[in-house]
Amino acid sequence: MHSKDHAKAPFLLFWGAALCACIAAIPLVYLAIRIGGAGLSEIIAILTRLRTWETVGISVGLAIVVVTASLLISYPTALFLTRTRLPLRRFWFTTVALPLAIPSYVAAYAWIALIPGMNGFWAAALVLTAVSFPYVLLPLLVSLRSADMGLEQVARSLGEKPTAAFFATTFRQSVPAAAAGSLLVALYVLSDFGAVALLRVDAFTRVIYTSYRASFDRSNAAVLAGMLVILAVILISLERKARGRSLRFRADKGVASITVPKALTPIFSALSSLWFIAIAVISLGLPITSLLIRLAQGARRPLDWAELMAAVVNTAWISALGAVIAVLLALPIAALASKYRRKSTGAIESISYSGLALPGIVIGLSLVYLSLNTVPFLYQSFALLAFAYAVLFLPKSLGASRTSLEAVPPALTQVAQTLGYSPLRAWLYTSGRISLPGIAAGGLLVMLTAMKELPATLMLRPTGFDTLATELWGRTELAAFGAAAPYALALILLAAIPSFALSRSFLTSEKETMVVA
């Protein structure tokens, strides 16, 4: 970690980043307009309704349980992977991100098909944990891999037991990574609609959807969504605190002592393998098996391969385009936040994150409204859909870009400048180039999430343009679950590609300059 420059950021960078943050904040602008449309008495009525707080309580409770469960899964998993000679270690390393490929609604549906009575809070907690824990695991892996063992050795030499030494040193170094991952999981749970709806949990998003769907009362719904934004802002500031308090520390100026994986006793080896198999079965095996069973049961109409392939191609390129735009929008913010620590830059970063808690329908409607009022000729175009993905998922790419940029010493860019490179070129050839793996990982994460996105896609896609998610939706809407199964599987397979690449990039990253967060 390099000390941040307290200097003022260059004018262009600052305002470029501010502009990008404003783009990320488009949904907030819309919400503000709609909330403005609600009467004060209406707002008070919503805020004083017991039901509102009940559902908020359930959502927050769900977020707490899922984050806790993700941490409980991720810490042992990450320790096994980084510290032991676990059987098939490389294989497990490459699979850690794969559960991210399964959309929450597909996972929930698959579980229900397998265990018909499954429902309620704990069922939702299980399903949401299974699809979101890699958000914690991935940054944790990077953090533990690059953690300086020197400190732990010092603690041991001072008479601490191994576990106590771990908690006193390495664990504390990993807190920012775990906090960043936990933030993503919490925001994911707060904004999720698919799983909680299918598993019949009275979560807050369900109330928002009902408000939009049934009453067509957009002000009402906007007030509710505004509450989600406030929740998100609280979580974001908590994460910033966790990040700020424990900066990373090294024992000396030299090279950090690197972890040497320990051999496991046969019994421990078997136990750890069981742990990994259990996680893989719950997060990947069961949902996929369930879908395969549905596939085998067949559908009313034979599968149209051409239609399926068209959807695969559409999904791939539109989500890739969205990812590219998200990365481009996130870069100025990341460049600013990684180098200049000031109140104003912190605000820019926080604003960019706040949209992540919003359910897709809010983002979808906000872009419907704002695009029709500003660039009507782009309404329901590919450009707008890709742009919507970028707005929705920019924070995911921002975290990854920022962390990897932070790891690059600012002196490198200055050296390049003294060697005749213009500021922009100097940045591109040094910071930009060196943190490319991290930036790309952020892009992959956006692409992966965009593939699974449904509500905004339904609203903003060009008419007649089908992605795997919309085709899947069309079929489940009709209770044609057999016909939906191939689309669900195709979506998982396609999303597995960026997930796999994400895992790979962790294995091969030389200097651990990359963190997903």
């Binding site: 049934a214 500003t374 809407e477």
Partner: protein
């Protein structure tokens, strides 16, 4: 789907009239433009291809899914030469989207799953011509003629014969609050068809009775699901014994997995019971397309004997024009004789929602 033209929306709504919320919009335009300009080339080339063929193309927002009505739209194109540019989505979400689009909406026709959603956007719809309205009985269309029903769907009760013999299936929704069915009844309170049914109950039985009944349901540990299809799945797998759904869900699932594989069965409620409401999937023409002959032709075509026949065969829904018979396995529409209300009144949702929120179902 191959006959339905896939086009970009970009070419169809190029107007720059001032609208509400201008300030925020203007603030955002500066932000949106540069990024959009960078990636608009693909959509431009796309819209360029469609502009020439814009005549004879009809933009339909369809709450009925592509899997279901896609082939039907293709038949329309074949029969009339009019291309349909269809946008599929959830009926209610499409309605919300149209409200957000306001008079800039590219939609010309709105084809909805549900009368309630049609009612909620009736300010955007134009009055249908006599040539259309004369085809459908007044109880299945809007009083102001802004929309008409296309097909009818009856509320039924799905039951699990392994636990509930056919002769013990409740004949009235009022039986469902009986202790006997504690925790055994499934409903979909967020679903439009359930909400329409509650609205109908309020209109025929009064608010007090309805609220009492809903409270009774909650006390009786009624099970809430997200969709009709999920209720049917739950009954079919023995999770619950009874479920309130629309009749065609059962027929569609039976077609999917085979009638002999269906464990759940359905039963129609007694005539006049609020539970025997007949709701419709309907269609309306947006104001911008009021004079568009293609739009009118499309609506007429939906109400043509052939198309009505198609719905009967494919979705087991009730035809709404005279001269087309409903599916043989269904009781006749007139024998159902649901509660005596006008479907247009089903748009009176806010009071229903308030009640559902009150009892804790929403």
């Amino acid at each position: 789907m191959s006959h339905i033209r896939r086009i970009s929306r970009s070419s169809l709504s190029f107007s720059l009239r001032p609208t509400r919320g201008k300030l925020g919009a203007i603030a955002a335009v500066a932000l949106l433009l540069p990024a959009l300009a960078a990636c608009s080339s693909d959509s431009n080339s796309n819209s360029g291809a469609t502009e020439s063929s814009e005549t004879g193309e009809l933009v339909v927002y369809s709450g009925r899914s592509e899997e279901l009505v896609g082939p039907l739209f293709a038949e329309f194109t074949e029969a009339t030469g009019i291309n349909i540019s269809a946008r599929f989505g959830d009926s209610a979400e499409l309605a919300a989207q149209m409200l957000e689009e306001g008079d800039r909406s590219p939609a010309q026709v709105y084809f909805s799953q549900d009368a309630g959603a049609l009612g909620s956007v009736n300010s955007l719809l134009s009055a249908l011509p006599e040539s259309v309205t004369s085809l459908v009985a007044p109880e299945y269309r809007a009083v102001d003629d802004t929309w008409t029903g296309v097909t009818g769907r009856a509320r039924v009760i799905a039951y699990d014969p392994e636990n509930v013999p056919a002769d013990q299936v409740p004949q009235s929704v009022f039986e469902l609050t009986d202790e006997k069915w504690r925790g055994q009844v499934a409903i979909a309170p967020t679903n439009a068809s359930f909400q329409s049914f509650v609205t109908a109950m309020r209109l025929t039985q009064g608010d007090e009775v309805t609220q009492e009944w809903l409270t009774g349901l909650v006390k009786n540990e009624v099970q809430s699901y997200e969709k009709n299809g999920l209720i049917l799945d739950a009954v079919d797998s023995g999770q619950v014994q009874l479920g309130l759904i629309n009749h065609y869900y059962w027929y569609e699932k039976a077609a999917e997995v085979g009638q002999e594989n269906m464990r759940a069965q359905i039963s129609f409620m007694a005539p006049q019971d609020p539970g025997s409401l007949v709701n419709v999937a309907g269609v309306g023409i947006l104001k911008g397309a009021a004079e568009n002959p293609a739009a009118i032709e499309f609506v007429q075509w939906l109400l043509s004997p052939n198309t009505q026949e198609w719905f009967v065969t494919n979705t087991f829904e009730y035809p709404l024009i005279t001269g087309v018979a409903s599916a043989p396995e269904l009781p006749a529409l007139d024998t159902l004789a649901g509660p005596d209300i006008e479907l247009a009144q089903l748009a009176d949702l806010p009071a229903t929602l308030a009640m559902l929120q009150d009892v804790g179902l929403l």
